[in-house]
């Protein structure tokens, strides 16, 4: 990278930031729209920045729409899925990383292969399976489906984390008197914590944003998560209330910003270190 003087640095920053502004514009527009009063919204020509800033749409969203219920459902779904994935994937990753049994390598590859399947292939039989199991139209059926989608990535991420923990640590615990499972809980898990956190955050995002399966597997409005719930608000209303929808979009994205802030530092690390490498 060529060394630039302070002028070059300033010019480049200006150029780069204008690109960033272009990409971020839709999201900024979303926030701006949510803060404009209703009448200003439909003014021709449209105003860029709100002349009056108001939170009335947010208030209306929380008090007069099913939005809080959808929000609650999404929280339960995302946290529940993350928890389930962590439990299943940590045990599985430990098995893949530290045990040798016939068929292990094949399993590891098979798991990753299923990540490439089109979800649309599975919705129909899955729907029928849930009906047969008697859990159709429940959050639990979604949680089950999401857990299975998140598993391949979670296993892959956790396995590489766990494999990088030195073998000696587990061996020292074994010689100190721990059984293999005790060694897992006492020594391996604390060391794998960064990987566990990254995995749970990724799973949270996946469960929070998913649409198709929520659409097909859950039809009861009381249990809808945010994704299908908000779209439902859009399509069932007589008039499309854009300010409400923008406010809903902002509020749907807030938890993600929080999660994203945590993930930021882990992101490029994870990819550069063990993942997409030549």
């Amino acid at each position: 990278m060529s060394r630039r003087g302070p002028l070059g640095f300033a010019l480049y920053s200006l150029f780069a930031w204008s690109i960033v502004a272009l990409v971020a514009f839709p999201l900024l527009w979303m926030v701006v729209t949510s803060l404009k009063p209703q009448n200003e919204l439909f003014r021709r020509p449209p105003t860029i920045l709100p002349q009056i800033v108001t939170f009335e749409h947010y208030v209306k969203l929380i008090l007069e729409t099913p939005f809080p219920i959808y929000f609650r459902n999404s929280v339960i779904l995302a946290i529940g899925t993350s928890f389930a994935v962590i439990v299943v994937a940590t045990l599985g990753a430990h098995s893949l990383a530290r045990f040798a049994y016939p068929g292990r390598r094949f399993l590891a590859q098979l798991v990753l292969f299923t990540y490439l399947l089109p979800s649309v292939v599975l919705i129909i039989p899955l729907y029928m399976l849930m009906v047969w199991l008697g859990i159709a139209n429940t959050l639990f059926s979604l949680m089950l489906a999401y857990t299975s989608f998140a598993l391949p990535f979670a296993l892959w991420l956790l396995r590489s984390f766990m494999a990088s923990i030195p073998d000696d640590l587990e061996h020292a615990a074994l010689v100190d008197g721990a059984s293999r499972m005790e060694a897992f809980f006492d020594v391996i898990l604390p060391q794998a914590l960064p990987g566990i956190i990254s995995t749970s955050l990724f799973t949270f995002i996946l469960a929070w944003n998913e649409y198709l399966y929520a659409l097909v597997l859950l039809n009861r409005d009381a249990w809808r998560p945010l994704t299908t719930g908000v779209i439902n608000m859009l399509t069932s209303a007589f008039n499309i209330e854009w300010s409400l929808l923008m406010a809903a979009s902002v509020m749907m994205s807030v938890p993600l910003i929080v999660v994203f802030a945590f993930l930021q530092k882990h992101l490029t690390q994870g990819f550069g270190a063990g993942g997409v490498k030549g």
Partner: protein, 295 residues
């Protein structure tokens, strides 16, 4: 010869991976096999009862225009958005790799479209695309680039173009993440050597950066192509397959067959055909990549 202790360890290892395997078989393997089986029936969605029809679902689909139009729409969408995702992704990664003011914040903002829900992305863009009140039309009119509001989603080829653009916006950060991570591992000394040899910035990109990125890009292109090809949410919510069925890609066709035409059997057949197409492309890709590696 395995000792009793080794055998016990093997058993424990198998038990630990058992829940994963169980969930997998139930939620992925079983439905996958079912889809193949169901495609041989005609199944009424509301009642879930059906009749055996053998391969007639397939023959009807392949003979009708609806499948091929869907495939065409799918290929146009995938190719269009993939190219833009890769190009924008690489350019953005190069841009973010340089030193600039508030670089972390800039990077966070560039990555954000990938992490919001498709629902949010669609709502935002539909508001932007709105013909009367959307800011996009207003700005273009103001700039004098158009003299009438554009119908972004209601006519062709606008709808497909809009789709491709929104898809690029939503998914290019994935490419940015992967490429940026790789860029950060390229040793500075390679560039210095090239500079000394007299290479300008463009030559340095072509001769140093690009070869280093090759391995990452091969994987990223494959992953994005697969995920773009099977994309449902974005297209369904933005255009619904419209106008009429001009943006109805295969995943949307599956959904339509299942829930509008109410035939789960035919829907499964479309899904199976879709997987077959993907398999063909994937094998072709791997074979050409393998050949390139050898040369």
């Amino acid at each position: 010869m395995t000792s009793p202790l080794d055998r016990r360890n093997h058993l424990l290892g198998a038990m630990l991976i058992a829940p994963t395997i169980l969930i997998f078989c139930a939620v992925i393997v079983y439905p996958l096999v079912s889809a193949l089986y169901l495609s041989l029936f005609r199944i009424a969605t509301p009642t879930l009862t059906g009749a055996w029809v053998g391969f007639s679902n397939y023959t009807e689909l392949l003979g009708s225009g609806i499948f091929w139009r869907g495939l065409r729409a799918n290929l146009v969408w995938t190719a269009g958005t993939l190219v833009l995702q890769i190009v924008f992704g690489v350019l953005a990664a190069l841009m973010l790799h340089q030193n600039m003011l508030f670089r972390s914040l800039a990077r966070a903002l560039i990555l954000f479209p990938y992490f919001i829900s498709t629902v949010v992305a669609v709502l935002v863009w539909r508001w932007l695309f709105n013909d009367l009140y959307g800011i996009l039309n207003h700005l273009l009119l103001l700039a004098g680039l158009i003299d009438m509001p554009v119908d972004w989603l209601g006519s062709m080829p606008n709808a497909m173009i809009s789709l491709v653009l929104v898809g690029a916006w939503k998914y290019f950060p994935f490419v940015v993440i992967a490429v940026l991570a790789r860029l950060q591992t390229i040793p500075e000394t390679l560039y210095e050597a090239a500079s000394i040899d007299g290479a300008g910035p463009l030559a340095r990109f072509w001769d140093v950066t690009l070869p280093q990125l090759r391995s990452v890009l091969v994987i990223v292109i494959l992953l994005r192509a697969i995920w773009d090809f099977k994309e449902f949410d974005l297209i369904f919510l933005l255009t619904g397959g419209g106008p009429i069925d001009s943006t109805q890609t295969l995943p949307l066709l599956v959904y339509q067959e299942a829930f509008s035409m109410q035939d789960m059997g035919r829907a499964s057949a479309v899904a199976v055909l879709m997987m077959a197409v993907m398999l063909v492309f994937m094998t072709a890709y791997f074979r050409s990549y393998g050949r390139q590696e050898e040369s």
